[in-house]
Symmetry: C2
Amino acid sequence: MSTFPVQIVERAALILTGSEILRAKVQESNLHPLASTLRALGISLERASIIPDDRALIAAEIRSLIRDYDVVFMSGGIGPTHDDVTLEAVADAHGVTAQVHPELRKLLEQVYQERLTAAHLRMGLVPTGADLVSLPEILWPTVVMGKVWILPGVPELFRMKLSVVRAYLRGPQSIVGRAAYTMMDEAELKPLLDEVVRDHPLVSVGSYPKWFDPTYKTKITFDGSNTDDVERALAALLCRLPAGEPQRTE
Amino acid sequence: MSTFPVQIVERAALILTGSEILRAKVQESNLHPLASTLRALGISLERASIIPDDRALIAAEIRSLIRDYDVVFMSGGIGPTHDDVTLEAVADAHGVTAQVHPELRKLLEQVYQERLTAAHLRMGLVPTGADLVSLPEILWPTVVMGKVWILPGVPELFRMKLSVVRAYLRGPQSIVGRAAYTMMDEAELKPLLDEVVRDHPLVSVGSYPKWFDPTYKTKITFDGSNTDDVERALAALLCRLPAGEPQRTE
């Protein structure tokens, strides 16, 4: 099977192909599991694009994102029907054709046996030059074309394939996150936050108001690659808060 | 208050600004309500971009999308803190500055009274030349700058503001949707679907496999602006299905 090397990547993007999402027929549900997985790996997810199942549009989006990001994940459009055009679009974006891969043809023959049709074989399409990346516990290999990782759209299968991402991709360093919850509103917090942001340039500080929650009004988050930096930024906020705050930290 | 005209728009895009979504701190939840609202209005949502809270990135995304779409919705980044940069980014994208609008200043003074700070006033920032669009039942006006509708990121407020979208935007024609559920898999369906797709070019046909559902394996959807076209495409599939299918239609 595959001898794919573990890769260090820093900045990731996601393309969700899904006319059904844009038309409100199904709710998007793959972004969050991918974002959690990448965060745990220390890889920064920096964009997600949700676009229709249109081969030319998808290819243009891939071409644009592989210029700017280290890895681009695709979700959706890898079944056998007319609206499944992801493999061809990935091939187009790389200026190659897509062909049925012998290894996938063998797998399809094993699964479907005498029921195998031309439609089934479409599921074996792979852009010329792509790698098949495998794990012992997952039957179906994942197609990786350069920076582009092709993942399924069906949420249960998408989550299953995240173990392949976890096995073969790493960020340059892990991301540390802390948070403080307060009953103060964002406008009260702003002058304190501005000082913390100014004094801790290596820490990314976020502020998220919560409505209709009796336990807090604003969550302040601190993310960085160095634990000490992150702890110092959190401490810098805490020492500026009035008595009785924060409600809690995590 | 506002005398904003009802607008007919065809193609929409959405920009979700949310480092917190990309970092897996919160789950995205505004796309689906907007997609449902637009679908009911006959407006076609054709792209959603989820990008970080970065003023230059947001401005570049706006500039790119207003070239290609009739209306661009923004969600998020309109609070008072350092990571709330949407209003300034919208102004940048249009080559204007953002200033505190007198009408919003008055509202903020009424709400916060002697507690009003410079941070609160940031929530009154509006790009020069923007419209304030109101409904009698919603206190806070919605800022609309040309094609760009600026909506909040907090899900409860975002949903509330969709009534403003419903009041002032219309699609050129309503979208009719039907669906059939079958126990056939996509590969079995593909030859039948290819004929239906070929014979009904004005109807958009989608095919969505469902795993781990005992009641069906594939949902086939038919969308179009003409009821008769959509019904004919559905009928064309149904008459090609074997006995016992479909499991149900809707």
